[in-house]
Symmetry: C2
Subunit: 242 residues, 2 copies
């Protein structure tokens, strides 16, 4: 899938119900691992994979508080002790670290760097590790996240996309979702072919495209955001009573 | 996704309707490319990606005659001239080359080697290229293809899986389908954790598992096999009249 020359391994995982990509990253030497954007319904699958591969789950990294699925981070912390990381603007008390732009985490010798790339929400993080960047709902393949709810901001999105476009062109882009069957892209491709912001589009052009979209609210908004505010530790008795 | 140290690039693509993985492989130097297991409904997407990346589509490689989707190979040949490659047991007149075990194709300096790995059908090919193997419906992540129709053979499948398990353990396994959200695996993982054939299972143990499955026929069997016998060049007037 890419051309890494190091001991870094990346495994893409998919949730068919919500079209969400989860990523397992690990260092082959130390066996330290992180999961990016977990999905509650895939908790068993992902925990099992971590165990099979003999990994130590050190972090669960969220790109933002999701509106379309509930995180498995709380359950994963219970079973593995993995720290829950999210941007400080999320301001949720269940996280272990509320982080800011430039902060770094390590899997063995591999640094994962936090890039604050708001626009879809005010708290989006893109996680950059060597030749790859995990762009959550900011940069999608040929597309970008919506900016019309949950503290979205079209100008912030434009600026975040420009910042991502400034990364080396061969950087592999791993998105948080895809709806056309693309698994990844590169910064070079997105600079040229991204239909919303690529090919040198101005902010005015970008805004016109974004404003013209009339999207329904996410199907799971009403349960996802509250569920993610508690890191997915939804009160099961409350669910049963509902 | 993997650790290739060469100019080989691999892009995984997904068809949500049939859970099929298509793969675009190319050599960054010569820009020669191949598509493995295309899907008719994704013809435009895949052709567009080939164009955007500036690639010359040299081959469309099928792992077998699929029973669950129709290939786009015929259309792709019309527009790009790419040769259609399939195993000789397919015996279809629309292919450009009917190949056998050990045969090689080249993308620039990168050799793609044909491994005849029957069992799901009598014509399955696994395509091996450097540190990766594209296993079609033979080896799936923690799983394998069914052997109960279309000239399937449980003993042949067992032997094909053993042959794949003998590849270097760090070989990346790219399957033809997945139904749990896994994108890939490695030979080492499958040798240990494949639920049907892994962990040193004997043929008798494997056969018991395979015989116990009671699967319905593939949803699209009746249209897919005839459609693939003509490389996806389905007669549109016949379709319209139906």
């Amino acid at each position: 899938m890419s051309h890494f020359r190091t001991s870094l391994a990346i495994r893409q995982l998919f949730d068919y119900e919500t079209w969400t990509y989860t990523y397992l990253l690990w260092d082959e030497v130390s066996k330290e691992a992180a999961l990016i954007d977990t999905v509650l319904e895939q908790y068993e699958r992902d925990l099992n994979l971590v165990k099979e591969l003999g990994l130590t789950l050190k972090y669960t990294l969220d790109t933002h508080i999701h509106a379309d699925h509930i995180t498995a981070n709380g359950l994963l912390r219970d079973t593995t002790g993995a720290e829950i990381i999210i941007h400080k603007n999320a301001a949720i008390s269940c996280a272990d670290q509320l982080v800011t732009d430039g902060q770094k985490f390590y899997l063995g010798e591999h640094a994962i760097e936090v890039m604050h790339t708001p626009g879809h929400t005010n708290m989006d993080i893109s996680y950059r590790i060597e030749g790859a960047v995990f762009t959550g709902d900011t940069l999608l393949v040929r597309d970008c996240g919506r900016t019309d709810f949950q503290l979205g901001d079209t100008e912030a999105m434009y600026n975040s996309l420009q910042r991502l476009f400034a990364l080396p062109e061969d950087t592999i882009v791993f998105p948080g979702h895809d709806y056309k069957g693309f698994s990844c892209s590169t910064i070079g491709e997105e600079k040229r072919f991204n239909v919303r912001a690529g090919n040198g589009k101005t902010f005015a052009e970008f805004k016109e495209i974004m404003d013209a979209m009339k999207l329904p609210p996410p199907r799971r908004l009403a349960i996802s955001v509250p569920g993610n505010m508690v890191c997915g530790k939804v009160d099961e008795s409350a669910e049963a009573a509902a």
